[in-house]
Amino acid sequence: MSRVIVARIVFMLAAIFVVLTALFFGIRLGVGDPTIAIQGTYATAESMQALREALGLDKPLWEQYLIYMAGLLRGDLGVSLQNGQPVLTQILAVVPYTLDLTVVGLLIGVVLGVPLGFVAAVRRNTKLDHVIRVMTLSGVSVPPFIMGYFLIIIFVIGLGLFPVAGGGELDEPLSRMRYLFLPGLSLGLIMTSYITRLARTTVLEILSKDFIRTAKAKGLDQRTILVHHVLRLSLVTIVTLVGLYATITIGSSVVIETVFSRPGVGRLIVGAVAQSDYMVVQGTIIFYAAFVGIVNLLVDLTYTIIDPRIRYE
């Protein structure tokens, strides 16, 4: 088992290396000169050259690559071309906000989505099922920013209950929760829709299996069948896909962080792309790649707990 984990980690690092190398050259060849983004319309040929030298962008591409990789091995992600701050410090400063958001989003999604999907499947083709299906279809169809604005209109403009812009103070739990409520709920409702649909399909599939018919024939009551046979088995599929959804959550959180002007890794990367800030783009991509890798690893390990028949050799 531990050999499997080590192998997976090595594989993850190799994937990050490939992603990063492709990104390093792709972004430099494709995006163009960040000195213009920094100096704006005041830029002259002379001032751009001076800035390029100061940022080390005048060196050959391979040399810049080696310098960057050497730094990376020392845990140095470089310095933002835009604001001069170390990239790692910037990422670490906003990671708690992004984690808050994704964890709350997923939690709401699981807590609401699994029971809803379960009920919809068990009460298939009833009015309740139709209502749940229409709601979840709307949930997955509505773009995240519309969901954000929708909640702002209800909770901020209508009821005046929550603040709209910012992330609150990290060391003040109340302020942190207050600023998390609306973005967390936006993401949570979107995730609920995904997870409800997933849970419904999974449960329906299990309900049509032979062993369920056998269980019914044996005279087991509905409750026992659902809890002991259906729920347990459906969790394997649900956990796998919820793990994958964690990566979707990251995508939606980029939009939600922008709508709520909330600090976070998503907003960091959007700003960096807009400002051609290679260094921050690279740093955040490494973070995302590592996040996706770790989530996948955790999902794989969780299988063995939920379904003891699964073994990694």
């Binding site: 163009g32 000169d33 040929a45 001076a50 001069g84 701050q85 910037q90 807009a274």
Partner: protein
């Protein structure tokens, strides 16, 4: 009736748990906690994404200059709310004298001014260091403006004498508190090196506290400020690039001041949605909106085509789109600038009013009876794109089919400056309100972007006659004489039409009614403020 109360451990714990959860939820939802106005803390919502640099000699972005204006001082400053040579008052310098030939400026400095964060007393050495830095450093954005400085002497700690290469009767504006005129701390730059740009040390009413990337910059009151301890304890500048989020945050009074959108409907919508009636101020000097016509792109090298474009432009359309934020103008320089040519001073034959028939006739004379096709690049930024789309519409009415390739702002800047792309280039520039600033940047021969010295001469225009008139104007000591030659420059521009000026756009800024700026601002008038944000002084309060 017997009613028995059964208390057991479980029920008590349940009760406590439920009430705890309710109290916690109530706290999270408590509106008074969420948006309580913090006394002495001013929240400003900026439209930028992030800080670039807080080094005053490098920064040009509006979100940076807004913050810098509260941290630094110049030798002199504009009276808050006004920007002109006549409205200059002492700041770090107590007094100054000018030699008769306008080639020497002597300043007596204020005693006992302290640098922030214990960097000691402000002296003449700092002034010398600062001015040499802005004149000579390759990183300095404002080198051309300070290149006239020949020598700086510091006879003692509190005296500075600046000798100029050529006479400049308005040099005092150059050393005012704005851009390169802000004095930086010699000792702090030596200690902090390159990080000075992220940890600025100034002499102003507020000192740098903290920067959270892409989130906010906060400043705290400088208790040693020479003008007295500021009334505000803290200023928090938040980066809220999303216009809708900024609007909601303002309406909910989460922020006290915000940059608005240049759109009349948007502004009135925000005012109507707000609880207390907030105030909308138009901050100027306005950004001069110009379409530069690139000479190297045929047939824009043909004067008739350029004049046809000038006649195709209908300024009323822009007024409808932008509302009171837009002030139409037919001359190349905004009317509030010193030396601007007034509409009644423009000869009739050079006043290119909206006349589609005349435009079509000019096109036909130039050999384009059936119209012509042009292609250009434009920034996706709302104001540029809006301007370009209106322009495209107007040109199509006279038979000019303009294809717009929309790029993100950084790529657009790269395309027009580095790659010299495009045919019609929209620019919006606001500078110190005197004609020479815009002429120097856009229309003298050295400004031509195809030359190494070129900054924003997107029209790739060069006329020796114009350069001579410009040089004569800036060397003239008598304001009337200066204005006369500036107007001559503008007449040449109208004859050659390298660029079509549409008018100027002010920056709308909204403030809650409870914000006391500490100085009088008349509602409905343009507030002149070069950082495009209010000046926050020691008297500002909420």
């Amino acid at each position: 009736m017997n009613r028995s109360w059964n208390f057991n451990r479980r029920s008590v714990l349940k009760g406590l748990g439920t009430s705890g959860a309710l109290v916690a939820f109530a706290n999270v939802m408590n509106p008074t906690l969420a948006f309580a106005r913090q006394s002495g803390v001013l929240h400003v919502g900026l439209d930028g994404r992030d800080m670039g640099t807080l080094h005053p000699h490098v920064a040009t972005a509006a979100q940076d200059t807004a913050v810098i204006s509260s941290i630094f001082n110049g030798l002199v400053r504009y009276v808050p709310g006004k920007v002109s040579v006549e409205a200059i008052e002492p700041d770090l310098a107590e007094s100054w004298t000018v030699s008769d030939d306008f080639k020497q400026y002597s300043f007596k400095l204020r005693h006992g001014v302290k640098w922030h964060k214990g960097y000691g007393e402000f002296t003449s050495e700092d002034v010398k260091f600062s001015l040499l830095n802005v004149r000579d450093s390759v990183q300095s954005t404002f080198r051309p403006i300070f290149s006239n400085i020949e020598r700086i002497d510091t006879p003692d700690k509190y005296e500075v004498v600046i000798a100029l290469k050529t006479p400049d009767p308005v040099f005092i504006a150059v050393v005012s508190g704005w851009q390169g005129g802000y004095v930086i701390c010699k000792k702090a730059v030596e200690v902090l090196g390159d990080t000075y740009k992220n940890q600025p040390v100034g002499t102003g009413p507020f000192q740098f506290e903290e920067f959270r990337p892409k989130e906010r910059v906060s400043l705290v009151a400088n208790p040693d400020y020479y003008g007295g301890t500021p009334k505000l304890k803290r200023i928090i500048y938040s980066y809220i690039p999303d216009q809708t989020a900024r609007r909601y945050a303002f309406v909910q009074q989460e922020i006290d001041i915000m940059k608005g959108a240049a759109n009349e409907d948007w502004l009135s919508e925000v005012v109507n949605a707000s609880k207390d009636k907030p105030l909308v101020d138009l901050l100027g000097p306005g950004r001069n909106v110009v379409i530069h016509l690139k000479r190297s792109v045929p047939p824009l090298d043909n004067l008739k085509i350029r004049l046809a474009i000038a006649h195709a432009i209908n300024r009323e359309d822009y007024q409808r789109f932008f509302g009171r934020v837009f002030e139409p103008n037919f001359g190349p320089i905004p009317l509030e600038y010193f030396g601007a040519i007034e509409p009644n001073e423009i000869p009739q034959n050079l006043l290119y009013k909206h006349d589609p028939d005349r435009a079509r006739q000019l096109l036909a004379e130039a050999g384009f009876k059936d119209g012509l096709k042009l292609e250009t690049v434009v920034s996706e930024r709302g104001d540029y794109l809006g301007l370009a789309q209106i322009g495209k519409q107007q040109l199509s009415k006279v038979g000019i089919d303009l294809k717009l390739n929309v790029l993100d702002n950084a790529s657009w800047v790269a395309a027009i400056i580095k790659e010299k792309k495009g045919s019609l280039v929209w620019s919006t520039a606001a500078r110190y309100p005197s004609a020479e600033t815009l002429i120097r940047e856009f229309w003298i021969c050295a400004a031509d972007v195809t030359k190494p010295t070129g900054v924003q001469g997107f029209a790739e225009y060069c006329n020796a006659k114009l350069d001579t008139a410009y040089q004569t104007a800036i060397a003239a000591a008598d304001p009337k004489e200066r204005a006369k030659y500036f107007k001559q420059v503008q007449t040449i521009l109208l004859e050659d039409m390298p660029s079509v000026t549409l008018g100027s756009l002010a920056t709308p800024v909204l403030r809650q009614s409870y914000v006391d700026l500490g100085y009088q601002v008349k509602e409905g008038t343009t507030v002149l403020s070069l950082p495009y944000m209010y000046y926050f002084t020691e008297k500002t309060n909420v």
